[in-house]
Structures are given as structure tokens and as C-alpha cells.
């Protein structure tokens, strides 16, 4: 998977680099790599590896193993390696035991070791050759010292101590440093390292700089012109190191442009700038990172630009040319930064890798500090060394890793998180508003469009070439807008209006239907209005009007667990009757379900319904299929269709008074009996009345001959259920639930409990989204589904204090047990509150909602005069 088949030839003046993305396996984990100046060889060093590989077009070829000798010395355990950029034969390694070794590949013997410097006490973290001097080598060690070697001599030429000059200072003190050239100072202060400590009230304390003959002074004693030249040096948040102990050096790098300058980075977050001729003190020092600074790199072209990387996951670019190091860019990576390398020929690009967690190599454009421009994901363990293959070629990157591989990455094969990043965000709001965020270039011009031709990230067709010359278009930014829907056109306001205005219970069915139809019509929802009208016609046709006027027990009936008993008032019945009826009814339900499975339109009518009571008269009426889709007509013999019929004769005996309800006209009364008595619900061959059907009533087609026949509402129940399902599937669960509640038992039995529960839950969720808490609670109350009706039974306990004695009230209501006074007195009008009572949780006083609101508009104190500052929110 690592092998990506692309090849690049880069013209570099006379020479040309060719190659492909490739890797080779090493014997051991690598700690560092370095490239020869010919860009054709790379050296890999680690604790137990030190080899030179030739970089060929297709592969790495091992060229030389520098680990020779029978027993490997600790001197060969390399923490770092560097290849001289002037001399192809000269290498230097930093050993973990503190030894610095140089290697001369020109030696004729197998052992190429040249010189050994054993001056550091601890691991040497970094070695660095001078970019133009052949003999100058610099090392930085864990022991806190940097040493400069002249390879013509046996010992180091000079030692630089990373010991912080502010050692021993207390936190919060500010070190004032001036970095101006000495000649601007008058004779008395003609020293480079003038420094003064503040606060001036305390005697100035100095670190090792006292060795210099700059005399410490208090700031107050300085002339104003000099003060303006001073800059404060802030202390590391970790506080100063104990005096005398040096901070470990993590990196040393010679400046590419300034012959005498090098930078060093420290574990305490500091960066120092040195002049190699002045080992006594650093030129300047500043805190660059929070925590260790693991690496730094000078910009190959921009004189004075230094990139530093730290454990704080940041890469910072400093402009060192100004009199105070200025942070010009800050890149935020996702893990600690172990290595940073500027990309050749790309002024703003740099590559980083991490020493923990993250195995990838990233290339960043420092002007876009959040998203890496490219990412190499080949390594399976921490990447320890990265190097651009040629100082003038931006395409080839080499890397070594703890996973024991050496890789060559081609920039064009890198994955580009920028391209993968989603440039748009889109979200539908509650009322139909749309929030839309899009990359500005996409929405700004038509040219932002890219025709689709396969995936645009596909390397063959659409991969955007990472062209180093490509001008940076500036930081990518997004435009955020909310498209607000205007009321009416598809806004959800109809839902809120409907929910609030629908009547679901408490009135006769006909009135409910009429009311809801009117609401729907007023909101321009004609189909819904029509549906309500149809329901009214079906269930309360004029002939049924008086009977259905008893229908207001829809909610009541269900809440007391007794199915619809239209023709009887519960109180008129014998106590046992209700339960008996219920029992029977449930039997009827079971049966009706089975019947409905057989045929959705099983119905026979009989005009002369009085005599056919009991269902023993065969009916032979033809009826058009209600769906209107099929032309089939059914001829049903009830006795054959329902062989279990006699079983259901019994329930009728539970209604001895049936014929004594005298006032209602025969037809309606009968029908209503049908609706109530269990055996009718099974769509059996009872006669029923059907109101004259309006010819505009398009959903069902009924032969003219049947116009004045009477159909029982149950005839339609299958159709109505289908309709409810239709509304639910269309996303209008409001209609489904509203009809379900209004019709109650008339349809409930035909819809399985699970579906009803699903509808209720969905509708309640919607109502709550719109904060229609009252409607939601009403729906919960009216629902017959146990899972739903328990929704408002939870967390209904309120713990209140008596407003007089401040003690918790018992569950006895609004009279306090202790002071025997009514606790629900309004603090404003001193009357007992009935209805909404609002009280302060702080002082327990309260009263009528309106009164308290009004009071608190004018005063912030409790109306009871207790002095509490009540808050109404």
C-alpha cells in the first residue's frame, strides 16, 4: 500500500531528481537521518543502526554499514546524525552516551570513524555542521551545554552554557534586556548586556552575567531614552530552574545567512541566540513555547526567520531581525512537534513530525495555521527524522521512523486534508429555516463550480497538483447565512397553529370534526379540512346526529378504561355492567382483527335493520369496493363469513335496556347500538345506516343504488386506518394522532398498539420541539397507549416550603401542618390562589402569576416584605 506509482523528475539547474514514493525496511528503528549534498545518498542512524543508502529511482540500496567492529560500542548508539553540506565524506553523529563522533568516508579502512569528542556528560541531542565552514561542528546536549568543535583540533573551541541567566530570580520579576549595538550607549553603560531587574525597590539580582562588567542599575536610574530601548524578558511559566543547573539543550542550528549566529532550544521553553565568538553570554533569549522546545529550523531564504516546535503542539515562526523576537506565524498541530524543516522553494511551507502518538508527517502552509497542506501517512510508528532530499527541490521528502523503515515521499502523492475537508455545513431548522455555511470561493462566483467527473480527489482525473508556485489565495473562510423562511411558504407555522387550535376532546364528535375542518381550512390546508369533513360524514351523518351527540365521552371513556358506550351513560348502568361490557368488547376486538385480515371491505348492508338484529338474516347486498381500485364486488354470506357468530350473541344480553331508550329515532339508535355492541365492530352482516353520500365525496365510489342505504361507520374503519397511515407516512403525524384521539375507539382497535405508540411518541416529540407543552400534555393525557400516558406521571412531585414558617410542607395540600395557615396566599392581593401559583424558591413567597409579574416589574424585592430579592425568569 505504501508503493504509489508516480514518478517525478525535477529539473534543478543541471541535475535532475527522479524517483517515486518508496520505502525500505531497516534492521532497527531509526533515530535520525541526513542527506548527502548530492541528494543521492541518505544516512540513517539509530541505537543499533548506522547505514548509508543510495537513493535510486525504484528503491533504496544499502551502500555502507558504518557499524563495524566485533562488539558495538555505545559510541555507535546514535541520537542524531548530520552529513556535511560542503563535504560529501564528512559525517558527524551524536551518541546517547554523550560522545560526538565524526566520520570520514574517504578513509580507506573499513572503519570510517575519524574523531571522538567525549566532552558532554549526558546524551548529545543534536549535532550541526556550519553551513559554509568545513571544520566547524556544533553540539547540544542534555547536560545543558553546547560545544563548538574545530575538527582540526582535538578539543572543543568553546562551550556555551544553556544555564538561564535569570537563574535564581523569583517568578513575576521582569528582566529588562537591551539588544541594541553597544555604540548607541554612552560610555557609562557601554556594554551589550545591560540588564536591570525590577521591581526596583528590591536590590537588583543578577545571574552569571555579573561576570560581565556591565554595572547593574535600577530602572529608575536610567535615562528615558534608554528605557525605550529596553525590552522585558518574560519568565517561563515553569519558573526559573534552580541556580547552577543548566537546562537541557534540545536543538542547535547554525543560521544559514548569519555566519556567526546559531540558535539553541531548551526544555524550559526558551530559545537562545548565540554569537559563536561570544561563549560568555547569549545574544538574546526569549520564551518561545510552553514546555520543551524540541526543534528549530532557520528559513533557507528569509534571513532571520526561525521556526520552532514544541511539546505544546505548536510551531511558531519568529522574525529575529526585529529588536524583539516577533512571532509572525503560529501553526497548531495535533501532537508535540519533534522535528520541523522548511520546505525548499516554498517560502511558507514547512514539514513537521511528532515524537508521540502521531506517526504522520505534515506539511503546513504557515499562513493557514489550522489545516495541513499535505500529509504523509506511510509510517506505522513515530517518525524520528525528516529531511528534504535536495535544498532546492520541494518534491522529495525522506523520513526515518521507529517502525524501522526509511521512506521517500513524493509530495504529489501526499494526502491533502484540505481537499478532504468538507467545505459546507447545512442544517434544517425547526420552522423550515436553513443554516448554510459554505466556503466563500464556492458561493462567490459561478467559477467556483467544478463539474463532476469522478471523484475530484481521484489522483487520475481530479487531483489538484500541489504546485509550489501556486499563489496562496489567502486563508480559506466560510460565509454563514440563515435562509429564513417566510410564513406561509412551507414554513412550519401551520403545524403550531394547527396544534394549538385543534379541538381533540370535550365536545361531540361532529363538533370536533367541524371545528378541526374549519381550522384546517383557515390555514389553507384543504385536504386536511376535507378529511375532517369526511370523518364527520362517516361517523356522524345527519341520521346519526342525535346519537353521536352523546359522543363526548371519547376522552372520558378511554380514561376510565371503558370502551365507547355511546348509548349509555355510565352512571345509568349497573356497577358491574361496565366491566362486563369491556370484557365482551375485548373479545370483539380480537375477532374484528381477524376478520379484517380477510377482507378490507367486508360489508353487507340491510336496509331493514330492525328485524335483522342478531345477524341471522342473510344479507345479499352488493357493494363497490371502497378502495375504488378494483371492480370486484363482494357477495358475502355472513354465516359463512363468520362461522363463530353465535359466540357473540351473548354480549347483547348485557344490554337489556337497549330498546327502552326511546327518544332517539329508530335508525340512528340502531346504528349507535351497532357501534357500541361488540359484535358489530367485527364488520359483520348487520344492517346499518349510511347517510346520503355527497357526490363530491370522491374518495369512495358508491353505486347510486346505495345512496340512501345506511352503512355502519365500521364499514369505513379500514379505510380510515389506511388514511391515518397515509398521513403518517406523508410526515403529517399530527393528523394521524389528532384523528386517532378524536375518533377514539372507533378506529383504535384497527391499528396495532405499537404503531399508535409510535405515532403518539413522534407527535409529542414534535410538539415539544415547538415548545407546545400544553398541547403535548393534552395529547399525553388523551392517549390510550400505556407507554405514552405514563410520560406525564414521572417527576410530578414538588417540594414546597410554607411561606409563613418556612418549613417543608407535608403532602396535605396547601395548609401548613405547623402553623395551620393556608400557604397559597397571594403575597400581593392576599387572596388564596387558585390556578397558576408562582413562588420564589428563595423566600417561599408567591402568588398569582399575573400579580407577581406585575409586582416584580416595579420592584425587585419580595412583595411579602421579607426583604428577599426575588427573581422572576
Amino acid at each position: 500500500a505504501m508503493e504509489k506509482m508516480s514518478r517525478v523528475t525535477t529539473a534543478l539547474g543541471g541535475s535532475a531528481l527522479t524517483g517515486r514514493t518508496m520505502h525500505c525496511h531497516l534492521d532497527a528503528p531509526a533515530n535520525a537521518i541526513s542527506v548527502c549534498r548530492d541528494a543521492a545518498q541518505v544516512v540513517v542512524a539509530g541505537r543499533s543502526i548506522f547505514k548509508i543508502y543510495a537513493i535510486e529511482d525504484e528503491q533504496f540500496v544499502e551502500k555502507l554499514n558504518l557499524r563495524v567492529g566485533r562488539k558495538p560500542s555505545l559510541n555507535l548508539s546514535c541520537a542524531d546524525v548530520v552529513w556535511h553540506q560542503m563535504d560529501e565524506n564528512l559525517l558527524a553523529t551524536a551518541a546517547t552516551n554523550g560522545v560526538v563522533v565524526t566520520w570520514n568516508l574517504g578513509r580507506p579502512s573499513r572503519n570510517k570513524q575519524d574523531q571522538l569528542f567525549t566532552e558532554h556528560k549526558r546524551t548529545v541531542n543534536k549535532v550541526c555542521f556550519h553551513p559554509t565552514e568545513a571544520h566547524v561542528l556544533l553540539s547540544g546536549s542534555q547536560d545543558g551545554f553546547m560545544k563548538c568543535f574545530d575538527l582540526r583540533r582535538k578539543d572543543s573551541v568553546s562551550t556555551f552554557s544553556g544555564e538561564a541567566p535569570e537563574a535564581g530570580r523569583a517568578d513575576g520579576e521582569v528582566l529588562w534586556v537591551c539588544h541594541r549595538p553597544p555604540d548607541v550607549f554612552p560610555e557609562s553603560t557601554k556594554k551589550v548586556g545591560l540588564e536591570v531587574s525590577t521591581p526596583p525597590s528590591r536590590p537588583p539580582r543578577l545571574g552569571r552575567r555579573q561576570a560581565c562588567d556591565s554595572s547593574p542599575q535600577s530602572l529608575q536610574g536610567l535615562p528615558p531614552w534608554l528605557l525605550s530601548l529596553l525590552e522585558p524578558l518574560t519568565f517561563s511559566p515553569h519558573g526559573p530552574p534552580p541556580a547552577g543547573q543548566s537546562e537541557s539543550v534540545r536543538d542547535v542550528q547554525f543560521s544559514i545567512r548569519d555566519y556567526f549566529t546559531f540558535a539553541s532550544t531548551f526544555e524550559n521553553g526558551n530559545v537562545q541566540l548565540w554569537d559563536i565568538r561570544r561563549p560568555d553570554r547569549c545574544e538574546r533569549m526569549f520564551t518561545a513555547h510552553n514546555g520543551p522546545v524540541f526543534c528549530c529550523d532557520w528559513h533557507p531564504e528569509d534571513r532571520g526567520w526561525l521556526a520552532t516546535g514544541g511539546r505544546d503542539k505548536m510551531v511558531k515562526v519568529w522574525d529575529m531581525t526585529t529588536h524583539r523576537a516577533k512571532e509572525v506565524h503560529c501553526v497548531q498541530t495535533i501532537a508535540s512537534v519533534a522535528r520541523v524543516k522548511w520546505r525548499p522553494e516554498c517560502r511558507h511551507h514547512l514539514a513537521t513530525c511528532s515524537m508521540m502518538v502521531d506517526h504522520n508527517i505534515y506539511v503546513w502552509d504557515v499562513r493557514r495555521p489550522f489545516v495541513p497542506a499535505a500529509m504523509f501517512e506511510e509510517h506505522r510508528d513515530v517518525t524520528t527524522g525528516i529531511a528534504w532530499r535536495h535544498p532546492h527541490d520541494p518534491s522529495f521528502l525522506l523520513s526515518g521512523s521507529k517502525d524501522s523503515t526509511l521512506c521517500q515521499h513524493l509530495f504529489r502523492d501526499a494526502s491533502q486534508p484540505v481537499e478532504r475537508a468538507n467545505p459546507e455545513g447545512l442544517c434544517y431548522g425547526l420552522f423550515g429555516d436553513l443554516a448554510f455555511a459554505a466556503k466563500e470561493s464556492l458561493v462567490a462566483t459561478e467559477s467556483g463550480r467544478k463539474p463532476y467527473a469522478g471523484d475530484r480527489r481521484h489522483p487520475i482525473f481530479f487531483k489538484r497538483k500541489l504546485d509550489p508556485a501556486e499563489p496562496f489565495v489567502g486563508l480559506a473562510s466560510s460565509a454563514l447565512s440563515v435562509f429564513e423562511i417566510e410564513p406561509g411558504s412551507g414554513s412550519m407555522s401551520w403545524f403550531v397553529d394547527t396544534a394549538e387550535r385543534y379541538a381533540l376532546a370535550g365536545r361531540p364528535l361532529a363538533e370536533l370534526c367541524d371545528h378541526n375542518a374549519k381550522v384546517a381550512r383557515e390555514l389553507g390546508r384543504n385536504q386536511v379540512a376535507q378529511t375532517w369533513t369526511m370523518l364527520r360524514i362517516i361517523y356522524c351523518s345527519p341520521g346519526l346526529a342525535s346519537a353521536t351527540s352523546l359522543n363526548h365521552s371519547v376522552g372520558k371513556g378511554s380514561s376510565c378504561g371503558v370502551p365507547l358506550m355511546n348509548s349509555f351513560n355510565l352512571k345509568d348502568m349497573a356497577p358491574g355492567l361496565g366491566s362486563e361490557t369491556r370484557l365482551d368488547r375485548s373479545k370483539g376486538d380480537t375477532r374484528s382483527d381477524t376478520v379484517l385480515l380477510d377482507s378490507s371491505a367486508t360489508l353487507i348492508t340491510n336496509e331493514d335493520n330492525e328485524e335483522t338484529e342478531g345477524s341471522d338474516v342473510p344479507a345479499d347486498y352488493l357493494l363497490g369496493d371502497v378502495e375504488g381500485e378494483e371492480e370486484e364486488l363482494y357477495l358475502l354470506d355472513p354465516e359463512h363469513a363468520h362461522p363463530e357468530e353465535p359466540e357473540y350473541v351473548l354480549p347483547q344480553e348485557a344490554f337489556p335496556l337497549r330498546h327502552e331508550i326511546v327518544d332517539t329515532p329508530p335508525g340512528p339508535e340502531h346504528l349507535q347500538d351497532k357501534a357500541d355492541s361488540p359484535h358489530v365492530s367485527g364488520s359483520e352482516a348487520d344492517a346499518a345506516s349510511l347517510a346520503p353520500v355527497d357526490s363530491s365525496f370522491s374518495l369512495i365510489s358508491i353505486p347510486h343504488a346505495l345512496y340512501d342505504t345506511r352503512l355502519p361507520p365500521d364499514f369505513f374503519s379500514a379505510l380510515v386506518c389506511d388514511m391515518l397511515r397515509f398521513y403518517a407516512e406523508q410526515g403529517d403525524v399530527q393528523m394521524a394522532v389528532s384523528v386517532l384521539i378524536v375518533l377514539g375507539e372507533r378506529v383504535r382497535k384497527d391499528i396495532d398498539e405499537q404503531t399508535q405508540e409510535h405515532w403518539y411518541a413522534s407527535y409529542i416529540d414534535l410538539l415539544q420541539r415547538f415548545c407546545l407543552w400544553n398541547v403535548s400534555n393534552q395529547v399525553v393525557k388523551l392517549s390510550t397507549s400505556r407507554a405514552i400516558s405514563c410520560l406525564n406521571q414521572a417527576s410530578t412531585t414538588l417540594h414546597v416550603n410554607c411561606s409563613h414558617c418556612k418549613r417543608p410542607m407535608s403532602s396535605r395540600g396547601w395548609v401548613c401542618d405547623r402553623c395551620h395557615r393556608c400557604a397559597s396566599m397571594c403575597a400581593v392581593c392576599h387572596h388564596v390562589v387558585k390556578g397558576l401559583f408562582v413562588w420564589c424558591q428563595g423566600c417561599s413567597h408567591g402568588g398569582h402569576l399575573q400579580h407577581i409579574m406585575k409586582w416584580l416589574e416595579g420592584s425587585s424585592h419580595c412583595p411579602a416584605g421579607c426583604g428577599h430579592l426575588c427573581e422572576y425568569s
Binding site: V357, A421, N422, D455, I485
Partner: protein
């Protein structure tokens, strides 16, 4: 008709996600600049940034709200390989005086070894759960066993998808008939074509998620995926943003017909497929009733899709992100002077220079093959005439000059039936 309200988001890099809360009064945005911002809607309808804080050390890909029953809780996920859960702190503070609210990190989910590309809270009825997916192809499902303690999340399931994941969507259905289900999309762009949408279903028997279905027809990288709000439907609707917009319906096959114990089988139909964006589609989002789908693509446009009662999906509106109205002709890149000149007047009438107005396409007298004649079909009267769904193609055939001047605002859906 829409009015565009532009918001100065002040994110320092791309915004990758916007998300409304449960009640639609708050909005969260997240960006590559590693921050999340929370916006609150004022009485006047303006959006005010009430919080902005650095959430991650990499690009923040997604931000999502938990159900308010669990508090004001957000989850975010990032390129930095983590997902995080945030809670708004109530109480007096200096922040509050400045009109800012304070959000604290409750937990960081660090199980992924690669970029976490999506995070979604499970439907409320499942409790406080969230799912993440990552570029290494693993979907992780976490649960906070104690809903009062947002700092304890346990990793319940790890589902391997084999492909780099880009997006996930929970099936929102609360029906007992529907097992918890999650759809996963992949943006893997390797040439070997594999199905990029997988659907996993929870089995009560094994207490594990198992693959229920794979949408074999989706082989191009998928950038977003969204189940429609269920609202009592017996089936599920799934929108997929890939090289085009696709809408699938998944009808559960009755359990008794399938072998017991195994995952539910679905009858899957593709009910719509639109390439009108003519480019990569990045986002899909459903309205709350699951009847209108909004999609956005590389063309910088938002398109709205709606089905009529015959399940025939049509484009019902196009919104351009920069505030310019889109009519049929601008699709071809033609300038439209007559319509363009109308716009300033309309804007003046709105008293808002930053507002643009959007029109649904004008309803011309229905003409066979004309672009918008299909709107007539959204009204009930059958019979339904099958027509090409590709509105762009249709309009290309009719670059009728007169229609350009007909720019009277139109509500394409005179009724709200089933919206």
C-alpha cells in the same frame, strides 16, 4: 420564499458544520480554526454569538446537540483524533454579564487513532448515547450510564466498517418495532469500487451491532448521510450525499418472514437520484417532518427536494449561498438582466441591505417538458404524468426569454399537506 440573513461568523478558517438545537433557537458552528461557536436567536431574529472557544487542536469536523433533556450539551469531533462533550454552565459569571455563556469540557473520547469524522447523539429514547466514526473505518458507540454525569462515558461497541468513514446517522425512529440502527458513509476514494453506505442494526439477542444492509449502488465517496425524521412511518428514508443526491427508502421486511434472530432485512428502493448540483454533493439535511430534503454541493447552491403523494421527488427550490437569486437560466451561466434588476427593489422593500430574497421558480402555465410544470403535480388530482426529474435538462430545452421577466414570487406548495 426565503430571506437570507448573513451572519458574520468570524471563524478563521472553513466552517465545516452548522447545527440547530432541538428547539431551533440555538445554532452551533465549528471550523478548522479549532473553535466552536454557539449562536442564540434574539427576539428580533438576529443571531448572536454567545460563546466561542477552542475545542480541539485540529480541524473540528462536526458539532451536534444532545436532546435538551440532558442539558445544554454539545459534542464535537476533530482531526486531532478526539471527540469531546461540552456542557454549558449556568450561573452567574463575568461571562454572563458580557452576554457570553460558559462551556466546559465534560469528556474527551480518545479511542480513535485517526481523525474522528463524525459524531452524533443517539435518539433520546435510547438514553444518553453517542456514536463517532473515524477515518480508520471504526464506528464507536459510547454511553453515559448516568445521564447526570457527563464526564463518564463507556465505550459500548466498536464496529469495523473496513472503509474510511466520513459520516454517520442514527435512525431516529422511536418505534419499538424498529431496532436501533445506524447508517455509515465512507469517503474512501480508492479506485476499487465498494459499496460506500453500510447499515448496522442492534440485535437484542446478541447485544451487538451487526451489518443489516449495504447499499450496493453507492460506490462513489459519500460525504453526508441522513435518516429522515421518522414521525410514525413504518419505513425509513435515507438521504445520501455522494456525487449526486440520492434518497432511499428502507422498508423492514416483516420479521416472521425472515429467519429469526438475524438482523432485519429491508426492502430497499432508491426513490430519487439527482445530479442537478452537477458536482460533488457535500451535505444533506431533512426538515423536521422528513418531507423536504435540502442538499448543498460544490456549486455553492442549496437545493430543496420534496415528494408528492405518489413519492415522486422534485426540486422545489434553489438557494444560492451568496445571496443572489437563482433562476433556471443562471444555471447555464447566463446573466439575467431583467431578473437581476428586480432584486434591488425587493431588497429595498425589506429594508435590509444584507438580505437577499429567494424565489421559488415561477409557476408558468404548465407546458409539457417545461421546467416547473411539474409543480402542478404536487397537488392531488391524478393521474400523474411521469416526467423527467432532471429540472435542469428540462429548462435547457426551454430558455424562454419571456419567462425571465416573470419573476413573481411563488409558493410552489400552495398547500402544506404533509409538509
Amino acid at each position: 420564499m426565503f430571506v437570507a440573513r448573513h451572519i458574520a461568523a468570524d471563524h478563521k478558517d472553513l466552517i465545516h458544520d452548522v447545527s440547530f438545537d432541538f428547539h431551533g433557537r440555538r445554532m452551533a458552528t465549528c471550523s478548522s480554526d479549532q473553535s466552536v461557536k454557539v449562536w442564540d436567536k434574539s427576539e428580533s431574529g438576529d443571531w448572536h454569538c454567545t460563546a466561542s472557544w477552542k475545542t480541539h487542536s485540529g480541524s473540528v469536523w462536526r458539532v451536534t446537540w444532545a436532546h435538551p433533556e440532558f442539558g445544554q450539551v454539545l459534542a464535537s469531533c476533530s482531526f486531532d483524533r478526539t471527540a469531546a462533550v461540552w456542557e454549558e454552565i449556568v450561573g452567574e459569571s463575568n461571562d454572563k454579564l458580557r452576554g457570553q455563556s460558559h462551556w466546559v469540557k465534560r469528556t474527551t473520547l480518545v479511542d480513535s487513532r485517526t481523525s474522528v469524522t463524525d459524531v452524533k447523539f443517539a435518539p433520546k429514547h435510547m438514553g444518553l448515547m453517542l456514536a463517532t466514526c473515524s477515518a480508520d473505518g471504526i464506528v464507536r458507540i459510547y454511553e453515559a450510564p448516568d445521564v447526570m454525569n457527563l464526564s463518564q462515558w463507556s465505550l459500548q461497541h466498536e464496529i469495523s466498517c473496513k472503509l474510511s468513514c466520513s459520516c454517520i446517522s442514527w435512525n431516529p425512529s422511536s418505534s419499538r418495532a424498529h431496532s436501533p440502527m445506524i447508517a455509515v458513509g465512507s469517503d474512501d476514494s480508492s479506485p476499487n469500487a465498494m459499496a460506500k453506505v453500510q447499515i448496522f442494526e442492534y440485535s437484542e439477542n446478541t447485544r451487538k451491532y451487526a451489518k443489516a444492509e449495504t447499499l450496493m449502488t453507492v460506490t462513489d465517496p459519500v460525504h453526508d448521510i441522513a435518516f429522515a425524521p421518522n414521525l410514525g412511518r413504518s419505513f425509513h428514508i435515507l438521504a445520501v450525499a455522494t456525487k449526486d443526491v440520492r434518497i432511499f427508502t428502507l422498508k423492514p421486511v416483516r420479521k416472521e418472514l425472515t429467519s429469526s434472530g438475524g438482523p432485519t432485512k429491508f426492502e430497499i428502493h432508491i426513490v430519487a437520484q439527482f445530479d442537478n448540483h452537477n458536482s460533488q454533493v457535500w451535505r444533506v439535511s431533512w426538515n423536521i417532518t422528513g418531507t423536504v430534503l435540502a442538499s448543498s454541493g460544490d456549486d455553492g447552491c442549496v437545493r430543496l427536494w420534496k415528494a408528492n403523494y405518489m413519492d415522486n421527488w422534485k426540486c422545489t427550490g434553489i438557494l444560492k449561498g451568496n445571496g443572489s437569486p437563482v433562476n433556471g437560466n443562471s444555471q447555464q451561466g447566463n446573466s439575467n438582466p431583467s431578473l437581476g434588476s428586480n432584486i434591488p427593489n425587493l431588497q429595498n422593500s425589506l429594508n435590509g441591505s444584507s438580505s437577499g430574497r429567494y424565489f421559488f421558480p415561477p409557476l408558468d402555465s404548465p407546458r409539457a417538458g417545461s421546467r416547473w410544470s411539474s409543480y402542478a403535480q404536487l397537488l392531488p388530482p391524478p393521474p400523474l404524468i411521469e416526467q423527467s426529474c432532471d429540472a435542469d435538462t428540462a429548462s435547457r430545452q426551454y430558455p424562454h426569454p419571456r419567462r425571465r421577466s416573470l419573476s413573481r414570487p411563488l409558493n410552489p406548495l400552495p398547500e402544506n399537506e404533509g409538509v
